[in-house]
């Protein structure tokens, strides 16, 4: 990938972010009610204090000015203060983010191990009963309500057998949430991997490897796997979106700290600066991760040209 192509890809991020941020800004202006009253949440104050609060929030200025300053602040990572805790939103998110990252990584590892295994097994023996069993399992993974499976896991392994703590933020408290989140991911990954393997197994170099008399394991392990992992991995970006979405649910079920839990509570408490901050930051992270992956593939695989 040429420097020019990389730069082009980086610049294309700007309109994308502008559109998503504009959407969030517009959505927040559609919230019914006076933002100052929402901020005060029922506490009565004098008219002068109202005016002061209005000026501090900036809602007394023309909408265009508000929009521009929103964009400028968002670019600096400043989303104002929480209506509830009065702390800067960015600080709140930064405090919660490590927990979500741990969970996302745990979920990703579980999802990858489970999904890839199912997909490879199904793809190596396609269209038979093995394939049917694996793909039905994958479909079940996609159909399982992750909050339900999370509650079942807690019930069996934490409350029932006592193998892991119900609550907490240590490593052993991360196991069940990771499984719960990973199952959600594994279904989709299994389907992708299966199709990638089937496609690769039909290629000439696999036939050559077979003709050379290599064992089945060697053909799959050395020749097929390497080429088949690429298509599912290109979808890493999409996996990130699924992980963030899944984290919202998983954190709620397991009462874990994290930005997903922060977002849900903020919506319930009508804490709009926090809602706005979490949505803008997760979306921006998603956009940036995808660009990085894109560029990385352009460098690794010269056939991919942006």
């Amino acid at each position: 990938m040429s420097i020019r192509a990389i730069l082009g890809r980086l610049i294309s991020v700007i309109p994308t972010l502008l559109i998503t941020w504009t959407f969030v800004f517009g959505a927040m202006r559609l919230v019914p009610g006076d933002p100052v009253l929402l901020m005060l949440q029922g506490t009565p104050i004098s008219d002068e204090a109202m005016e002061a609060a209005r000026a501090k929030l900036g809602v007394d200025r023309p909408i265009v000015v508000q929009y521009v300053s929103f964009l400028a602040n968002a670019a600096r990572g400043d989303f104002g203060d929480s209506f509830r805790s009065r702390q800067p939103v960015t600080q709140l998110i930064a405090a919660e983010f490590p927990f979500t990252l741990q969970l996302a990584l745990g979920g990703f590892v579980v999802g990858l191990l489970l999904g890839a295994t199912l997909g490879i097994v199904a793809g190596v023996w396609p269209n038979g009963w093995i394939d049917t069993v694996c793909m039905t399992t994958a479909l079940a993974g996609l159909s399982l309500p992750s909050f339900w499976i999370g509650m079942l896991l807690i019930q069996v392994f934490a409350t029932g057998l006592g193998w892991v703590p119900v609550l907490g933020t240590g490593f052993d408290a991360l196991i069940l949430p990771s499984i719960s989140l990973g199952l959600f991911l594994a279904g989709g990954l299994a389907r992708l991997t299966r199709n990638a393997i089937i496609e690769v197994m039909g290629q000439d170099y696999i036939r050559t490897a077979r003709a050379k008399g290599l064992t089945a394991w060697r053909v799959v392990g050395k020749h097929a796997m390497r080429n088949a992992v690429i298509p599912p991995l290109t979808l890493l970006g999409i996996q990130f979106a699924l992980l963030i979405g899944g984290a919202v649910v998983t954190e709620t079920v397991f009462a874990r700290p994290g930005i997903g839990r922060l977002l849900v509570l903020a919506v319930l408490e009508k804490d709009f600066p926090v809602v706005q901050g979490v949505v803008v930051l997760t979306t921006t992270a998603y956009v940036l991760i995808n660009v990085v992956i894109d560029i990385a593939y352009g460098i690794i695989d010269p056939r991919v040209q942006g």
Partner: protein, 286 residues
Amino acid sequence: MKAANLTRRPWFVARLLGAPGAVAGAVVIVVILGLAVLAPYLAPYDWNANSQCRRLAPMTAEHWFGCDLFGRDIFSRVIYGARFSLAMGLSTVAISLLFGSLLGIVIAYAGGWVDRIGARVIDAMLCFPSIILAILIVAVLGVGLLNAALAVGISGIPRFARITRAAALPLVARDFVEAARAVGAGHGRIVLRHLLPNLAPILIVIATLDLGGAVLFTATLSFLGLGAQPPTPEWGAMLNAGREYVRYAPWTMIFPGLALFLTVMAVNLVGDRLSLILDPRQRDRS
């Protein structure tokens, strides 16, 4: 299109039901629909009547699924819940499908800068993780069952728009569109009478593939407390309400969750089969 003709052949249903999974799925869907329609006749107790039994009482011959915190019969509530799951799923998919497909066709048909900008906006909107987008919309509209359904429906619009646009682009350049224009057909007529019918098979496929997810997604919002509110017997909301008492009364969450899982699985099994028959290229889904 060739795929469109398939639906008219008598063996379509036979092929759809050619796989054991799809048969099982179809049976479950019929059962769920039956429960939804006949709920008042099938439910042994009033879904909202307190003190039908001891609080959090376990499963008995009178109360098959046990009782919840208010002494309500869980079996009756699960039966009534069937009304919400499929209705919510279908209405959210209808919103995504209607607005998404129209948007996709219109920008593809308009072409030029409308298409370029439209495609850009759609791609940008797809950068919102869909649950985050739905939660943002709920934050604006307010918490509630209908708002949650609306939010899930709206958050699906970019996805449907992108697929429809991609499918419509090659059609727009075809001779029949030119011919229709030549005989004086208006834009609206071309879009609705010429382009839309040709896109029907792919739209049916994506809508069916989306339905299971939509049912799950709406229930998820209810579970988070953003959708259906108590005492509505919606499965996700029932799980949310039972969360605090799971330890003492696991049946409060096992049965609503099982019902939800079976419904989504059934819809996915049928959807998978349908997509295989209607469009072999749609076999994989991320």
